[in-house]
Amino acid sequence: MSEAGGRAIGVETVGMTKIFGSLTALEDVSIRVRPGTLHALLGENGAGKSTLVKCMMGFYQPTRGEMLVDGHEAAIRNPREASDAKLGMVYQHFTLVPSLTAAENLVVSRPDCPAIVDWKREIAALEEFMARMPFRVPLTTPVDNLSAGEKQKLEILKQLYLDRRFVVLDEPTSVLTPDEADEMLGLLKGMTTRGELTILMITHKFREVTAYADEVSILRRGRYVGGGLVGEMTTDDMARLMIGDTEIRERAARLEHGPSPVVLDLTAVYASDDDGLPAVTSVDLKVHAGEIVGIAGVSGNGQSELVEVLSGQRDLDDGRILVHGQGFEPVRDQMDKLKVFSLQEEPLRNSAVPRMTVAENIALRTFDKPPITSLGWWLSPGPMRAKARELIDRYRVKTPSTEEPMENLSGGNVQRAVLARELSGDVDVLIVANPCFGLDFASVSEIRSQILEQRNRGAAVLLVSEDLDEILELADRVAVMSGGRITLQAPIGATDRNAIGHAMAGGH
C-alpha cells in the first residue's frame, strides 16, 4: 500500500459548546487532532467526552462552535455526513447485528450494498480485504459466536472497510485482555504512524495513553483543561487535570489479620448461560474471614454467571456452596441467617427497583422485620423513612428526599444507596461485582473504602471486577477466570500483571 501515506485526515473542533436544557454538557472545547496521530481523550465520567465526539460525528448538533476537517470548515449535521467526510466511530457498546455473520455485517453496512448479494464474489472480495488488514476475523460465523475481542476487531475492521480515515474509539480495550489490548493498540498505532489513519481514543487507562498515544486532551466538567504531547506529561499531571480539586476520601488502611477460618466455600460449581451452554465450569474457591478474593477476567468468561448463582439469580447446575460450613442456598431466609450480602453490577437493574422510592429500596432487606413490620404483616412507613434518613446521611446519598424514585438518582448515588442497604448490618459474606463501573472518582474512592472496611471488620469478600487495577488495589488473593474456569489462583504479592494477563487469555 505505497499510496497509503497521507490518507489520514486531521480534525479540529473550535469552541464546541453543547447545552441540553439547563445543563451545559460541553463548554467552549477546542481540540486539534493532527493527521496520522493517535490522540487520547481523557476525562471522568460525565466530563463531556462522549458529548464532544457525538457532536463531531453528527449525532448531536452543537449549540455553538464548529469543526474543521483537514483544515476546512465542515458542517456535519448527521452520521451520514460524517461518513461522507470519512469520519467514523466505534462505540463502547457493539453496533454489530448479533445474528448476522461478520461478512453480512460488513456488506450491509456499506452504503452501496447491492439489492441482491452475490455471496461468492463478496466473500472473495472480503477475504482479499482481510489479507491487507493487520488483524483478521472469521467471516462466516454469526457475530453472536465471536469472542468480545473478535467483535472489537470486527468493529474496527468495519471502519476500515468503509474507508474511514478518522476513527473515534470509545474505550476500545475495555473488553480485551491486556495482551489483546496491547496487540490491537500496537497495530493501530502502526497504521497511524504510516499515515493511513487518524485515531481519537476515549480512555481512562493512563497506561494506554503513555504507551500508545502521541497527544492527549483532557476534559473536566465539560471544559478543556489541558493536554499536549504525551511525552511531556506525567500521569500525575494528567490525573490532577482530570480530577481537579475534588476532595477524595482517604482510603481505609489494610489491617493484617492472622490465619482465619474459611467462610465462603465453593466446590465444583457448574452453571449455564442463557443459551444453556456451560458458563461456569468446576469452580473451586475458598474465601477466608477478613480476606478479599478478587476474580479477574475479561467480561463474558463466566464471572457474571458465577455472581448470579451466588445471588440467587441463576440456578446452580452442580456443585456445593458452603457458608460457615453450612450448605447455602441463595434464598432470602438463608441470606439473612448466614449474613450474605451483595453489591451487584448495574445496581439499577440487579439490586434496586427503579420505580420504588429510595426509602423502600433501602428497606428491601428489612421491611418484613420490626420496627418496620409489626404483628408480622403490618408495615409502617414511619420507621422505614427514619431508617432511610439515617442511612442516607451516613452513606452520603444525594437525594432530594426519601420518597424520590430510585431511578432519578445518579449512578454513584444509586450505588451508595445499595451500599447503605447491604453494608449497614452485620456482614459475614460480601459478593461484589464491578462496584465502581461508570462512577466518578469520589464515589469510586468511597465505595472501595467501604469494601476494605468490611474486610477489616472480618467479612469474607468476593470481588469480581473487570478492572484489573481495582483487583490489584483491593484484593488479598487473586483468582483469574477464563472460559468459565479458574485459570490462576495466587496471593496478590506472588503474582503480577503479566501472569494475570496470560491467565485471562486462558494460558497458565
Binding site: 451520514r80 453496533t95 448479533p98 445474528s99 456488506v107 441482491i116 448479494v117 442463557d274 444453556g276 440456578d315
Partner: protein, 305 residues
C-alpha cells in the same frame, strides 16, 4: 384394519395439504414481521377480514382470484395500521395487535352479514388425480394452487432473507435497532413495510378459508387459526422453511378428527378436533425452557427482550 389405517393416513395427508395453507400464509407473514422486530397479534383479525372481503369480492366480481387480491390488499391495510400505530412513542405492539384482532373480526362480521347466504365462485383446485388409480388418493390429490404459491413463497423468503439487501436490512432491524439507526436505516419504515407485507399474506390466507376450504363465509370460520399461526412462528424458530413443516403438521392435526370420523370412530370427535390447539400448547411448552432464551429469536422482539 389396515384399510382403516390407510384411510386415516390418506385423509390426514389430504387434510395436511388442505388445512395447512392458511397457517402457512399467516405464519410466513408473521415471520417477516417478527424478523423486523415487531409482533403483530392482529393477524387473526386480518385473516377473518381477508376471508370476508375475498368472499364478498369474489361474489360481486365473479372471479375468485380478484377476491384473493382484494383480501391481500385489505390485509395490507391492517398491516399498515399496525405499522403506523406502533411507530408512535410508547405504544405496545402487543396491545395494538390485540386491538386490531378484535377490530378486524368485528368489522368483518359487520360487513359480512349480507354475504353469509349467497354462494360466491370458489377457487378451483389443480387435479393431480391422474398420478394414481386409488380413488381415495385421487380426491386427496386435488390441490389448490395457493398451496404451491405458499411453498414457493417460503423458499423465496428463506433465500431473500440471506441474499438480498432487503433481507439483511430486515434482519438487522429486528436484531439490533440501534445498529440499524446508526447506519441511517429508518427502523420504523422497515417495520412498516414488513408488517404491511405480513398483513397482505395473512389476508390471502383468509381468502383460502372462504374461497376453498371450508369454502364459505361465516363468523366461526377461522376459529383462532391466525393466533395459532403466530405460535407456529415461534415453533419454527423464525425460519420460513420450518414454517412449511410446522404448517403441514398443524394441518394434519386439524384433519385428525374428520379423518377418524370417516372410518367410523366418532367417539371423542370434538376432542380430536381440538388437536391443533392441544398441539399448540404442547409444542410451546416443549420448545421453551426457563433456563434458556429462545434460540434464533430476533433480539428486538418485545416478548424476548
Amino acid at each position: 384394519m389396515s384399510d382403516a389405517l390407510t384411510t386415516v393416513a390418506v385423509a390426514m395427508f389430504a387434510g395436511a395439504v388442505r388445512v395447512s395453507t392458511p397457517f402457512l400464509f399467516v405464519s410466513l407473514g408473521e415471520t417477516l414481521t417478527e424478523k423486523s422486530g415487531r409482533i403483530n397479534l392482529g393477524l387473526e383479525g386480518t385473516l377473518v377480514f381477508g376471508a370476508m372481503s375475498a368472499y364478498a369480492v369474489s361474489y360481486l366480481s365473479g372471479n375468485p382470484w380478484v377476491g384473493v387480491l382484494a383480501a391481500g390488499l385489505a390485509g395490507s391495510v391492517f398491516g399498515m395500521a399496525h405499522g403506523f400505530f406502533c411507530r408512535l412513542p410508547k405504544v405496545s405492539d402487543i396491545a395494538i395487535g390485540i386491538a386490531l384482532m378484535l377490530f378486524g373480526s368485528g368489522l368483518a362480521f359487520f360487513f359480512g352479514k349480507g354475504f353469509i347466504q349467497p354462494t360466491a365462485p370458489r377457487l378451483q383446485a389443480i387435479d393431480f388425480g391422474f398420478l394414481t388409480s386409488d380413488p381415495q388418493l385421487k380426491v386427496a390429490l386435488q390441490i389448490n394452487p395457493l398451496f404451491f404459491i405458499g411453498l414457493a413463497l417460503a423458499v423465496v423468503m428463506w433465500w431473500a432473507l440471506a441474499n438480498t439487501r432487503f433481507g439483511l436490512i430486515v434482519r438487522m432491524t429486528g436484531d439490533s435497532a440501534a445498529t440499524a439507526k446508526a447506519m441511517g436505516v429508518s427502523v420504523d419504515l422497515v417495520r412498516f413495510v414488513a408488517t404491511t407485507i405480513g398483513g397482505f399474506l395473512a389476508g390471502v390466507g383468509g381468502a383460502f378459508l372462504s374461497l376453498y376450504y371450508p369454502g364459505s363465509w361465516n363468523e366461526g370460520l377461522s376459529s383462532g387459526q391466525g393466533l395459532m399461526a403466530v405460535a407456529l412462528v415461534i415453533f419454527s424458530r423464525w425460519n420460513p422453511l420450518m414454517c412449511v413443516a410446522a404448517a403441514l403438521l398443524f394441518g394434519a392435526a386439524g384433519a385428525l378428527g374428520p379423518a377418524l370420523q370417516s372410518v367410523g370412530i366418532s367417539q371423542g370427535y370434538h376432542f380430536f378436533n381440538a388437536a391443533p390447539h392441544i398441539l399448540t400448547l404442547a409444542i410451546l411448552i416443549a420448545s421453551s425452557s426457563s433456563k434458556r432464551s429462545l434460540e434464533g429469536a430476533p433480539g428486538e422482539l418485545s416478548i424476548t427482550k
